[in-house]
């Protein structure tokens, strides 16, 4: 799967992801002669696709990256959510490919990734993208939540919106209406709000989720076998349920679009 980011430093490299959780300083964070990390769980940055949210610390960190390069211990490439001066400078002067504006939450330790610093993209070779829809059915200020069976293959036991995969050549809008009808028996008309896709990583799949909101006036739900339980909840109640974080954020944004 290819994810579009922004080119910071040119060049192209393929390698295995080493992901650091926090903001990272090359000065003090890594040994410039050996590539050994002095932070988090340790490990060696040499030849890895080094992934972290953003750089921090002393500007000398740019030269630590150059030191790694001199010793042949530099990372194969760098991916950041947000590039800042120190790491960007280090990457450019050390000719290490670098891409930013990528959600680093999509990447896992051990992923097989190609970073293309020329066109600003990354390709994650060991995941496949699946397009799906996730819809808020909104009746009198309440949101319809469905609980997935504990035996479900993805997100088992989790409360979710009305969600499902996009099939064949259908539009995401049509897919949303079809899923609502199949899973709840409700026939909704055109949507009242929508968002651009949200990406969610689950094992070897990255879900490309298209969020919709349908205002409706009937709350008589007939579940099919895909879900075991349903509830009508207020937005506040929904935020306290066992659900996926990105769902909460999407619902907030969809509802804010509804009230001008």
């Amino acid at each position: 799967m290819i994810v579009r980011g922004r080119s910071i430093s040119k060049g192209k490299a393929r390698g295995t992801v080493l992901r650091l959780k926090g903001a990272f300083s090359f000065l003090g964070g890594v040994d410039g002669a050996t590539g050994e990390l002095r932070v988090e769980d340790g490990g060696n940055v040499s030849d890895r696709i080094l992934v972290f949210p953003m750089g921090k610390g002393s500007t000398v960190g740019s030269f630590t990256m150059y030191d790694l390069k001199v010793h042949g211990k530099q990372p194969a490439a760098v991916i950041n959510s947000t590039a800042e001066t120190i790491v960007a400078t280090g990457a450019v002067i050390s000719s290490i490919p670098m891409v930013d504006s990528v959600d680093v939450g999509l990447l896992r330790n051990g992923d097989d990734v190609t970073v293309d610093g020329n066109d600003g993209t990354i390709e994650i070779h060991n995941v496949r993208p699946v397009r799906c829809v996730s819809s808020v059915v909104y009746v009198d200020g309440k949101i319809l939540m469905l609980r997935r069976p504990d035996s479900a293959s993805s997100f088992p036991g989790v409360w979710s919106l009305v969600a499902g995969k996009v099939e064949g050549n259908e539009s995401t809008d049509d897919a949303a209406k079809r899923e609502i009808y199949e899973e709840t028996g409700l026939r909704v008309s055109s949507h009242s709000a929508s968002l651009g896709p949200i990406f969610v990583r689950e094992n070897d799949v990255i879900w490309e989720v298209h969020p919709y909101l349908f205002v409706h006036n009937v709350s008589d739900v007939k579940l099919n076998k895909e879900n075991v339980e349903h509830l009508w909840v207020s937005p506040d109640e929904m935020e306290r349920m066992n659900t996926v974080t990105s769902t909460v954020l999407a619902v907030r944004e969809l509802i804010s679009k509804l009230i001008p």
Binding site: V60, F63, T64, D67, A83, A88, V92, I93
Partner: protein
């Protein structure tokens, strides 16, 4: 980002590998800050001159980049890790000295002027009002933004060097008129000494972070502005300031409606206490930023008929080689107390090998001595510190 045909040609490598790399770096930094284009610069000031701060990685970088790079604009260099003649007096190791001298040689090879000071604006590198520049060294760039009205962002060392090589930098931040407006008024009620102004900068930097302040009720001269700018940039990351009735751009902006912060004697006392962690000293170091002719003259007048009594304390006076050569008689007086060192300072020299407790009259040094040099610090007025040893 928009690049002209000439700039694209540099980026594609038509003018050599070093120019290409430099353009890549300037463009990458421009992207991060959403610059729309590049602007021509007339001047650059480069940090990363001390072997202590850049290490072997930095030295190797300079070895490589200097193979075919030449700077296109007036470029100066920040202080070194030692006085290049008197390093033995500073108890610098021969290995350090060898690498430090190599660093100067490499910058010189690229056409960078190797008089190494944090006050290049006092002579040698003086951009004009409205000109674009690429300066590293936080105190110097704040001074030229504020007192001269030249336009520069807070560049890092490699970014400033890259800009010097291609003669351009990315057009964002303080290069744009709209970003030079003050964000907060500082109503200052302080004494008239240099040290008061240093503490004022300290208190303001801590309080406002990276904002642009607009000062009222002070009239800092060059020396006071220099120490204030340095303290603001070290305690916070202030890159520009206005002073009512003094700085060239202060009247361009409407300041009505801005929040006013009062800084008086209490705030100065707090700032001073926050910097003091030592109750005795092994080294007294002055000249952060580098001493001017006037400061050296005043210090010499103060010390003329006095004698140093404590032999367990070393004293350093730090300035540029240019300033040192301009006041030989006063330098002679100071030399009775300690070396007048050129083109280095207590922050970028490896003083931690020989000292643990340092006294300074600079709030900037007060911020950096604990972290960069592992020192306990005594931060006070010049005369008060000297009274400990005379």
């Amino acid at each position: 980002m928009y690049l002209s045909r000439d700039e694209e040609a540099v980026l594609s490598g038509k003018h050599g590998e070093s120019a290409q790399k430099a353009m890549e770096l300037v463009v990458a930094l421009g992207k991060i800050y959403n610059a729309e284009n590049l602007v021509d610069i007339t001047s650059a000031h480069i940090s990363g001159a001390s072997y202590k701060t850049i290490g072997d990685g930095g030295l190797k970088y300079l070895e490589d980049v200097s193979k075919d790079a030449k700077v296109k604009v007036t470029s100066t260099l920040n202080p070194l890790g030692m006085d290049r003649e008197r390093w033995k007096e500073m108890r610098i190791s021969p290995e350090f000295a060898k690498k430090q001298l190599r660093i100067i040689e490499l910058y010189g090879k690229m056409g960078v002027r190797t008089s190494c000071t944090c006050t290049p604006y006092l002579g040698g590198n003086v951009p004009k009002f409205g000109e674009h520049a690429a300066w590293a060294e936080s105190s110097a760039l704040s001074f030229v933004n504020s007192y001269i009205g030249a336009r520069t962002n807070r560049e890092g060392g490699p970014g400033a060097l890259a800009a010097a090589i291609i003669g351009k930098t990315a057009n964002y931040g303080l290069h744009l008129e709209k970003n030079r407006a003050p964000a907060v008024i500082i109503d200052a009620d302080i004494g008239n000494t240099l040290f008061d102004h240093s503490l004022l900068g300290q208190a303001v930097g801590k309080r406002i972070g990276s904002a642009i302040p607009y000062y009222r009720n002070i009239r800092p001269d060059i020396e006071a502005a220099k120490t204030m700018a340095a303290a603001m940039a070290a305690a916070g990351s202030v890159a520009m300031f206005h002073v009512e009735g003094v700085t060239p751009e202060h009247s361009r902006y409407d300041v009505s409606g801005l929040e006013t912060i009062h800084i008086g004697k209490k705030e100065l006392k707090d700032a001073r206490e926050s910097l003091n962690t030592a109750d005795d000293i092994q080294l007294l170091a002055f000249g952060c930023p580098h001493l001017t002719v006037r400061e050296i003259t005043e210090m010499a007048a103060f010390l003329k008929d006095k004698k140093k009594r404590r032999n367990d304390v070393d004293i350093w006076f730090c300035t540029s080689s240019e300033v040192r050569s301009r006041c030989p008689d006063q330098v002679k007086i100071l030399e009775r107390f300690g070396p007048v060192l050129a083109d280095t300072c207590m922050v970028v020299a490896p003083i931690e090998s020989n000292y643990q407790r340092t006294g300074t009259n600079s709030a900037k040094a007060g911020n950096y001595l604990p972290t960069l040099c592992s020192q306990r610090v005594m931060c006070d007025d010049f005369a008060k510190l000297m009274e400990l040893v005379i």
